[in-house]
Structure formats: C-alpha cells, structure tokens
C-alpha cells in the first residue's frame, strides 16, 4: 500500500498529510510534485490544503492545469482513491472530478476553528469505520468553503448518497448557525458517483492527535486504509 501527497506551488498542508499517513496510518508515502505525471505504484492520493497558485483567478482554478492533474484524472478513472482536503476539494471541483464549486464564505471571514460535521453516508471507502449520524469535531480553515451547486446537481448528490459530511451542531442537528460558510444544504464533503473521489473542506489530517484538540480524523484515514487493503 502506498500513498502520495500531491504538492502544488502554494500547498501548505502537504506536510500535515504526510505526517498523518506515515505516523498514524503507518504506510509508505511520497510527496508528488505537481509536474510529475507517472502515478504508477500509488493506491491513494491526497490533494492537500493550502493556496495553490496563490488562489489566483479562483481557488483551485490554476492547479487544475498542472501536469499532474491529467494523471490524477486517469488515476481516479481507474477507481483508485483521490482524497481532496480544503484547497484539494476546491481543485477537484475546478477539475471536474467532483460537481459544484466553492465560493467565498457567506460571512466573508476566513474561518479557522473546530466545527462539527455529521457522517451522512457510512458506506463509502472513507467512512466505513464511522457510523451514520456520528458527529466528528474537525477544524476548518478557509475563506472559500461555501459549497454551491444547482438544484439538479443537489438532487443527484442526494439521490446517489454522495453527500458524505454535513456541518451540524454538537448534537448532530443541522442549522444555519452550525453552517460556518453558507454551504448549500450544509455540505462539508461530497464524493463522486463511484465513491472513490472525496472532497471535504474540514481538515481531518489536523484532527489525528489528542494534543491538537481532536483525533476524530483518524477514522477517516483508517477507513481509507481498510478500503485499499480490501481492494
């Protein structure tokens, strides 16, 4: 089993992801510079958070044209796992690997805090070690996390159970107050129709150690590891 952490100019959560995979997941992991086009030998890629290309034009818009992205599209089409966090989620949406877009937070502020998310679908490669309705405490840190899509896309996401995480309060209730960025339908994370590509705004890689305030993120990585082992 081998993980890759994709690094664009401006990525800044790449070392966090690398640390979690090597220390807590206990699997080999490489950094993958965005100019690399050979992804053979990897089972899962993490597209980490940060400010790829300085968020110029739109968050994630320019990273989409990096050479590695063509390889990532083939990698995803082959059913391998692609896990985008924060800016990684924005990049996957811009690249068309996930539907919708992430806009400026409705409250305009950069929001950096622990929030609660509810597991909406536990039958995915990323959530099998979690229970439906389980509430996780995971930090967010973004200015553009406001998930937007049209009615048709939202209906598709709901019908196919592609909404994986929703912002909620500590009791798992959905409300506008528990929605930190104005995301449509409180969406915090979605997967593609096949379930192998996941994007989420919260940072599970920053929630794998009690010292950091939560280790709720570990179960997501444990789920993914199990999915790779069973493949």
């Amino acid at each position: 089993m081998k993980f890759g952490v994709v690094v664009f100019p401006g990525s800044n959560c790449d070392h966090d992801a690398y640390h979690v995979v090597s220390k807590h997941v206990g699997q080999p992991v490489d950094f993958i510079w965005h100019k690399q086009t050979d992804l053979s030998g990897y089972d899962a890629l993490i597209v980490p958070g940060g400010f790829s290309y300085g968020d110029y034009l739109r968050a994630g818009a320019l990273a989409r044209f990096s050479p590695v992205m063509t390889a990532i599209k083939d990698f995803a089409a082959a059913g391998k796992f692609v896990f985008g966090v924060c800016n990684g989620f924005q990049i996957l949406c811009e690249a068309g690997l996930l539907p919708g877009a992430l806009m400026r937070n409705s409250g305009l502020h950069f929001v950096c805090q622990h929030i609660n998310i509810r597991v909406e679908n536990e039958k995915t490669p990323y959530t099998s070690e979690l229970d439906a309705g389980e509430v996780l405490s995971i930090p967010i840190a973004h200015a553009e996390g406001n998930y937007v899509c049209d009615d048709e896309t939202l209906a598709e996401l709901e019908d196919n159970n592609q909404i994986i995480f929703r912002y909620c309060d500590e009791n798992g209730e959905l409300s506008d107050e528990a929605n930190p960025n104005g995301s449509r339908s409180n969406i915090a994370g979605i997967c593609n129709a096949e379930g192998n590509v996941l994007g989420m705004m919260p940072h599970p890689e920053r929630a794998c150690e009690e010292l950091l305030g939560s280790n709720d993120g570990r179960d997501i990585f444990r789920s993914l590891t199990k999915a790779i082992a069973e493949k």
């Binding site: 034009l57 739109r58 818009a61 044209f65 949406c93 811009e94 539907p99 919708g100 877009a101 806009m103 400026r104 937070n105 409705s106 409250g107 305009l108 406001n146 937007v148 899509c149 049209d150 104005g182």
Partner: protein
C-alpha cells in the same frame, strides 16, 4: 487586436463580496443602491493579423475553459480592433 472578457456571477449565485461593498457604499451616504455585484475583467492582447471571428472564438474558448467557472459564472466577450 484586443479581447475584453467580463466574468460575472450567475444571477442565482449570492455574492457576499458585492453585498459588503454595497454596505460600505451606503455608509458613505450613497442612497438608492438596489444591488452591487462584483465581477472580473480581463484584457487579452491578440495578434493583430487575426480575423475578428477567430479572435472572438479564441477569447470565448479561453473564457469558457479558464477565466470563468461555468458552475457559478457567466462571461461576455468584446473584441476591439
């Protein structure tokens, strides 16, 4: 030859930045402001020997594939000879 590309948020998409700008404008004392929406403007210099048609097609492609995100934005292209 210059292509001007205007990228605007779709009418159905909320624009929190536009709202904040509107609020500041109103604080300045300007009244009767119904709405302000923020967009982006690009100038693309193209080879002078291109036909207007080809220039327009080129700019449209660039706008559609790069400058605008069709999920949330519309675009409009003008060609200046």
């Amino acid at each position: 030859m210059k292509a001007k590309v205007y990228v605007t948020l779709k009418p159905s998409v909320l624009d929190p930045q536009g709202k904040a700008i509107q609020h500041s404008v109103e604080l300045l004392g300007f009244q009767q402001i119904a709405d302000i929406r923020q967009g982006k403007y690009f100038e693309i210099a193209l080879d002078a020997d291109l036909s207007e048609n080809v220039a327009r097609q080129t700019a449209e492609r660039i706008a559609k594939d790069v400058l605008a995100n069709p999920v949330i934005e519309d675009y409009r292209v003008e060609i200046d000879r």
